[in-house]
Symmetry: C2
Subunit: 319 residues, 2 copies
């Protein structure tokens, strides 16, 4: 028996919700998710992988649906205690339930297990119904080049500090993937692309989620070598982000904040880019030469709407 | 101005309560506490120092008074989550509030700070009103030799596993201080003894608390070199332990479970032992040659009773 094999590139909340749609739209498929780990960070000695956890909790039924990250029914006792000790940093959302995941991950990494093996072990509890793989077992941490508020001089701060602490307020002049030169695709990534019947780019941040995954040496080549067709879903609807802060990231790379801008940034596969197909919202138009642009409802406002979006993505690549 | 200097050797709950009495009985004194770290353990990657924390929380107003260990108003979210992951061990009482202390300690130790410096840093929050010093910056972990329940063969398990997991049920045939050969007194221990006007042995477990401290090479010599007199408080009242499981430990070393038995085990300072004075309960009698044995109420049933006990101890050594 041979199941359809689908690979999805995903970041955090938007990618995780999209994946629920893919799972619903193709319940018989073998779905492999290559997850961005550029947001990963070590806080209070704990190794935290926000996107991996968001996908795992979302697909495993443990996510806080309203926030879109962290655990449902979360409490914040440890965070308050750390603050009472004046232990920096205090701005990161370190929940008590979430913390157990970080403890196990940190302990396993310290024992020498690679992140991909840790991810598999954690997923045993959550049974996400997909195969979760970090983009790389090596650390690749996104840093953001921003002006120092006091001196005005450019400096690179961790993505989480920019995103969570400063709410993406300082204008970035660039993004740096610290460690990317030594990174390799995690075990399973290249193989998944090779056997994929379809590759989906989730409506995640094109710069600091999808872009970070594609920045790992070997990933882009493996992706383009896939025998399956590649479809992307625009994270921009009506010239604005549906969620997150892609509108703060795209201009840094000179990309227009529009469905067309992101589509052209990804580019046509026939022309050295990535896309065979590109999904944009019904009211958006996008001229991306060489790419099958389709207008479909993009808002993941209900499980049905999300499944329909995923179905449209799979239709666009003939699966 | 010159304050009276008092050094107390202490374990966990009983020692911590006794210290509240000493602080109340001698509010002007400089009190240094040398704390047992033989119970210390690493769980889920966190370095846990039960006796140091019990003393710190008790004197700092954060202790759970009823349990006698851990934080007041404690919650157990992380513990439940770790159990949901089937992460061993699940039998240790790892509270959410308490966990923040362990996180900071672990992070500082990993950064290279010695345990004594970590203890000083944590105490900034708690302001215990005494100087807390771990007996040693080196790891000295008490292991208990017990028969394996399946094979019957003797094996050494960590003290916490015997004490907390098995509730001290298997009969021990010995105690082993793993790491003791390489241990030295922590900075400040030897100096505190040298300048002490009085040394108090708290009514802590004579084997696995006081005995463990005395087992660190150099501690016993420093203690005996003190110009101050040494008084001990019996943890045994009426032939039974007031608290804890000293009655499970004393027979292993051939010590009678009585105020006299423990007094003779510590021995007279004039005869190569430790004690100048020994406090026993009013209904107990103890013949310890060469030692000033005094009968005083030992039950720390109220702050006043505890302060009176401490006052009697200080009186016995002329402070």
């Amino acid at each position: 028996m041979c199941f359809v094999q689908i690979v999805v590139l995903a970041g955090g909340t938007g990618g995780a919700r999209f994946l629920r749609g893919v799972r619903a739209a193709a319940p018989e498929a073998e779905i492999t998710v290559v997850v961005n780990t550029g947001d990963d960070v070590t806080m209070h000695g704990l190794r935290i992988c926000p996107d991996l956890d968001t996908v795992m909790y979302t697909l495993g039924g443990g996510i806080d649906e309203e926030r879109g990250w962290g655990r449902a029914g979360e409490s914040w006792t440890v965070k308050a205690e750390l603050a009472a000790y004046d232990a920096d940093p205090s701005w990161f959302g370190l929940g008590d339930r979430d913390l157990a995941t970080h403890l196990i991950r940190t302990r396993m990494l310290d024992a020498g297990y690679p992140l991909s093996a840790v991810t598999t072990a954690l997923a045993v509890r959550w049974q996400p119904g997909v195969t979760l793989i970090p983009m790389s077992d090596q650390r690749v941490e996104t840093h953001v080049v921003v002006p120092d508020p006091e001196t005005g001089r450019q400096r690179a701060i961790h993505f989480q500090e920019w995103w969570v602490r400063h709410r993406a307020a300082p204008d970035p002049s660039g993004f740096v993937q610290v460690g990317v030169d030594a990174a390799r695709p995690a075990p399973g990534v290249t193989e998944a692309f090779a056997s994929a019947d379809a590759v989906l780019l989730a409506p995640s941040n094109p710069v600091v989620s999808i872009g970070t995954i594609l920045g790992v040496p070997g990933v882009r080549e493996a992706l383009l070598g896939s025998r399956g067709r590649i479809v992307g879903v625009s994270p921009i609807v009506g010239g604005a982000v549906v969620r997150g802060m892609a509108d703060r990231c795209l201009p840094v790379l000179g990309i227009e904040v529009s469905a067309e801008g992101v589509g052209r940034h990804y580019g046509a596969r026939s022309d050295g880019g990535l896309l065979d197909a590109w999904l944009v919202a019904p009211d958006d138009r996008a001229d991306v030469p060489g790419v099958d642009v389709r207008q479909v409802p993009l808002l993941m406002s209900s499980p049905e709407a999300t499944a329909n979006l995923a179905r449209a993505a799979l239709d666009a690549v003939g699966v």
